[in-house]
């Protein structure tokens, strides 16, 4: 065994000699980013060896993040004896963001308002029972007595009882003087008795949790299942980010040693942390949460359930299960919710998951005869085209740029994130706005889109994503790994450091937007639809409180349609999960939706790569696709010329 110490936090751990340094770090709960999943290509897991026993395999030449002097890649290093290492980049810092209800960025504050006419009927319901105490004439068992009462009084014939309830049941009913409240979970035609409480708790104390299990970000919402009110919302980066930045690297990681178990505990830790936070904020007891609905992509759902995701990645790309059953939360490691049952929204395919099902459910798509396009921009970009009669879906990998991942000063859309930027075309000075007006500490997805669009229009940025070195501005400078543009000087920021956007960041954003645009065009073409026939486009994703659609068109992320065609619907996955949590009709509809959708696989589509490469340009190499952007650029040239002469 070798003793290894991780600085600066001084965490110590014992590992067998020959152990992989990255795995050793993760097992010791030392957060190190390995965005490629530890395959030696990203260069994010660099560590400095302070003392001794670490041996590194030769480093590959083309790392996405160049290696600094005197570091080793943790994923390619093994522990050969006692050692001390210094963690350089802890990666995406956990940063719980809480949204108070009533804040303007929430699209609605009561789920009842979003049900669009469907009945408010959460899957769990409480029944107060006043049981007749047993006697020699009526010696029926305690549990059977409850079931009998449910049958005779409430007409619930098919109720199974959770074994977990039984050990304490006999004591509980007697203590409660035979007056109890039971929680029943309605799952299709079957019911399950999931909890027994003393006294009458039906009038209050029924809560549910909706969870968006994103590849990069996890968001939970606490919902009152009696009133429909959204009590609290909290979000944080998914702890799994340390083990790979996209689903593919997570799948790779899951296949290694204890990788699957580690990933499962990382996501449940994240959810538990957020649940405890919202419960604390709202002053709600954990035992009063009876149902959880989680929506995530297929890989995230598998990892939450602890199912090996391996075959999602291998042709013909088959998941273990599309519609997982209701499961007790504690069984999944969601220890923060002792009495809750969890439902994961069903998925269409390995790469079109429950998050999309949920998002489409929350969108106008299934309710309108007009042709609509739903786009969820996250680490995966997923899009669904269709109307109330038919739908076709596809997905592409976009990377975490829109959620602030892989961006030097990227962050999630929480207070302090720059979410709007304007650049003066003459002075090239930016004016930034932040979420909640806080002191800037980073840039979120919507800020990034505005920033790049403004830089492009102001000619600070060339259409190939390179900073214009010929512009004289103190904001454009050469740094260690290439050119960068200063968005905010250190004096204006929380950390006191300049907030910059680098050419590498811009490259990441361009790749993300190119993949999404390529997928949109291929999807439309696959069903013979012209972009101009699309009556409405609903965009979901964790960009920020708002998305400037015009700027998203300027960079070529979205097709150049009339701006009134677009609407931003926020976190569609979370909204859909909350609907399923509050309405059995919605739950059934989510299943029906999946059956109505067809899946188009882009990975086997030879044209995708070509479309992708042709979109790696601002706004696109085919400028005729973006007439309004061409006009905007022409205007800005005139404007700048006018500005200079005056």
């Amino acid at each position: 065994m070798a003793k290894i110490r991780f600085e600066p936090k001084g965490i110590e751990s014992e590992v067998p000699e020959g152990a992989n340094l990255l795995e050793a770090a993760h097992e010791a709960d030392v957060p190190i980013n390995a965005t490629c999943g530890g395959t030696g290509v990203c260069g994010t897991c660099q560590l400095k060896v302070l003392v001794g026993g670490v041996e590194e395999d030769p480093t590959p030449h083309h790392l996405r993040h160049p290696k600094s002097e005197g570091t080793v890649l943790a994923c390619r290093a093994k522990v050969t004896g006692d050692a001390e290492v210094l963690v350089l980049d802890e990666g995406l810092q956990s940063m719980v963001g809480v949204k108070k209800r009533g804040l303007s960025e929430m699209l609605f504050t009561n789920v009842r308002d979003a049900l669009a006419g469907d009945e408010f009927a959460p899957p769990t319901r409480k029944f107060h029972l006043e049981l007749t105490p047993p006697s020699l004439d009526d010696p029926t068992g305690d549990a059977d007595r409850i079931l009998r009462e449910l049958r005779s009084r409430h007409g619930l014939a098919e109720v199974n009882i959770d074994f977990d309830i039984l050990p304490s049941l006999s004591h509980l009913v007697r203590e409660a003087d035979w007056k109890v409240t039971v929680t029943v979970l309605f799952k299709g035609t079957h019911c399950r008795l999931t909890n027994v409480e003393a006294g009458d708790t039906t009038s209050c104390c029924q809560y549910g949790v909706a969870v968006d299990v994103g590849t990069t970000t996890v968001v939970v919402q606490l919902i009152n299942l009696v009133s429909g009110e959204i009590c609290e919302e909290a979000s944080d980066y998914n702890d799994q980010v340390r083990s790979g930045e996209d689903v593919i690297s997570r799948i790779v990681y899951a296949g290694k040693g204890v990788g699957l178990e580690l990933l499962r505990s990382q996501v449940t830790d994240t959810i538990n942390r957020l649940v405890e936070r919202v419960l604390g904020e709202a002053g709600v007891e954990a035992s009063h949460v009876s149902a959880v609905v989680a929506a995530g992509n297929t890989t995230m759902t598998h990892l939450l359930l602890g199912l090996p995701p391996r075959y999602i990645r291998e042709a013909p790309y088959v998941p273990t299960i599309g519609f997982p059953p209701w499961l007790r939360a504690a069984r999944l490691g969601l220890t923060s919710l002792p009495n809750a049952y969890v439902y994961c929204v069903g998925s269409l395919a390995s790469y079109v998951g429950g998050d999309i099902t949920a998002g489409v459910l929350a969108s106008d798509l299934p309710r309108s005869e007009e042709l609509g396009l739903y786009i969820d921009v996250g680490t995966n970009g997923e899009m669904v085209l269709g109307n109330s009669d038919w739908m076709v879906a596809c997905s592409c990998s976009a990377g975490p740029a829109f959620e602030g991942g892989g961006i030097k000063h990227g962050m999630r859309a929480v207070p302090g994130a720059i979410d709007a930027v304007e650049i003066d075309p003459v002075s090239l000075e930016p004016t930034v706005a932040t979420i909640a007006g806080a002191v800037p500490c980073g840039i979120c997805g919507s800020g990034l889109i505005e920033l790049v669009a403004e830089m492009f229009v102001a000619k600070v940025l060339d259409p190939n994503g390179k900073l214009n070195r010929q512009v004289s501005s103190s904001r454009i400078r050469k740094a260690e790994h290439g050119y960068e543009y200063v968005v905010a000087w250190g004096a204006e920021t929380t950390a006191g450091d300049d907030i910059v956007i680098t050419e590498i960041d811009i490259d990441n954003l361009m790749r993300a937007k190119a993949a999404i645009f390529a997928a949109i065009t291929l999807l439309a073409e696959s069903v013979g639809v012209q972009m101009s026939e699309i009556a409405r486009v609903q965009i979901a994703g964790g960009f920020g409180a708002k998305l400037n659609v015009g700027k998203a068109v300027t960079i070529g992320l979205l097709p150049d349609l009339a701006r009134s065609t677009f609407s931003y619907v926020g976190n569609g996955s979370l909204t859909g999960a909350s609907l399923v949590l509050c309405s059995a009709t919605k739950l059934n509809a989510s299943v029906g939706l999946v059956q109505k959708m067809s899946y188009m696989d882009l990975s086997s589509n030879p044209d995708f790569m070509n479309r992708y490469v042709s979109a790696l340009f601002l706004p696109h190499t085919d400028t005729s696709l973006f007439p309004s952007v061409a006009a905007e650029l022409a205007d800005s040239i005139k404007h700048a010329a006018g500005g200079e002469s005056s």
Binding site: N464, N610, T621, D622
Partner: protein, 313 residues
């Protein structure tokens, strides 16, 4: 019933680019290469003979003999010979000597050579740099200046130095050869970037990067094919420029063009083999849509001229 052959419907045409000051034009096709039976086949492709600014090393004996040892160290005499004796349509001066990893000749020396060659010939001059992006940018600021009025082709212009070289081309009235690594979209991007700077489309040639026969020719061919299909059938304006193939150095780098008959007896006569390698590479590129071929061997120039004549009918 009368048989009428199916006619391709074209939606675009290749622009014409004037090279030099004697009215030599390339491009102008309204149909795929040599499909004269469908419409206007445009200007014939031209053959440029490559001339080096420094004496070449390691060239096969037969090639040296064909060119003449006496002119190899003298780019002016070499260029004149190409014009007067070999029937070249143009001369390509390759400034390999400016490469910082080779002789590292200065921009001034390069400019002097370019000026001397330009003055000695009446046909179009193409000047290719060493391919080192920083050095080429410096070299072409000087070379562009001294060649003002010659309407030369200068290149290769790449994504990393297009601003400087395209500016020199605009300032001093030259045509640029924009080189991208065997990729249609990269070619489009570079063309957009250069035209955004204000360089007119009729001052641009596309250099798609060239692999020789057996060394990636198939990649070059298919990318040229896609270039032409986009330009002519899909009417993609940013690809409607003539194509230049800097193929000589590639063809003559191949083992098949270099190795002696003693070393590889089964491969036959080395002199003939070298010519064939260059000719076959050239013919394939012509079929793919080449408008300017840069080659080395006088005999290959002959054969390619004949081939062009036959193909163009």
């Amino acid at each position: 019933m009368v048989y009428s052959p199916a006619a391709e419907k074209y939606n675009g045409e290749i622009g014409e680019v004037v090279l030099g000051t004697d009215g030599v034009k390339v491009g102008g096709q309204k149909v795929l290469p040599f499909q004269g039976f469908e419409g206007e086949a445009g200007n014939h492709p031209i053959i440029a003979i490559e001339v080096l600014d420094v004496e070449p090393e390691g060239w096969p004996e037969a090639l040296v003999e064909a060119i003449g040892q006496d002119v190899l160290g003298d780019p002016v005499a070499w260029a004149k010979k190409a014009q007067d004796e070999w029937g070249a349509d143009a001369v390509c001066l390759s400034l390999v000597g400016t490469d910082p990893n080779a002789a590292d000749r200065s921009p001034d020396e390069a400019a002097e050579t370019a000026k001397a060659v330009s003055d000695a010939i009446s046909m179009p001059l193409i000047v290719y740099g060493s391919g080192n992006v920083e050095k080429d940018a410096e070299v072409f600021q000087r070379v562009g200046e001294v060649l003002q009025g010659a309407n030369a082709v200068i290149g290769p212009v790449k994504e990393d130095n297009y601003k400087t070289i395209a500016a020199a081309a605009m300032g001093f009235g030259h045509v640029v050869a924009g080189e991208t690594p065997i990729d249609v979209n990269m070619a489009k991007q570079l063309n957009i970037l250069m035209t955004n700077l204000g360089l007119p489309a009729d001052k641009i040639l596309v250099d798609p990067s060239t692999g020789a026969l057996g060394y990636g020719l198939d990649y070059t061919f298919s990318v040229m094919e896609r270039d032409r299909l986009s330009a002519l059938l899909q009417g993609d304006k940013v690809l409607q420029m003539p194509i230049i193939n800097n193929m000589a150095k590639e063809a003559w780098k191949s083992k098949e063009a270099k190795v002696s008959a003693e070393e590889e007896p089964a491969w036959g006569d080395a002199a003939e083999r070298g010519i064939l390698w260059e000719v076959l590479t050239g013919v394939a590129l012509l079929m793919g849509g080449a408008d300017v071929l840069i080659i080395r061997h006088p005999k290959a120039a002959d054969v390619l001229h004949t081939t062009i004549g036959l193909l163009a009918g």
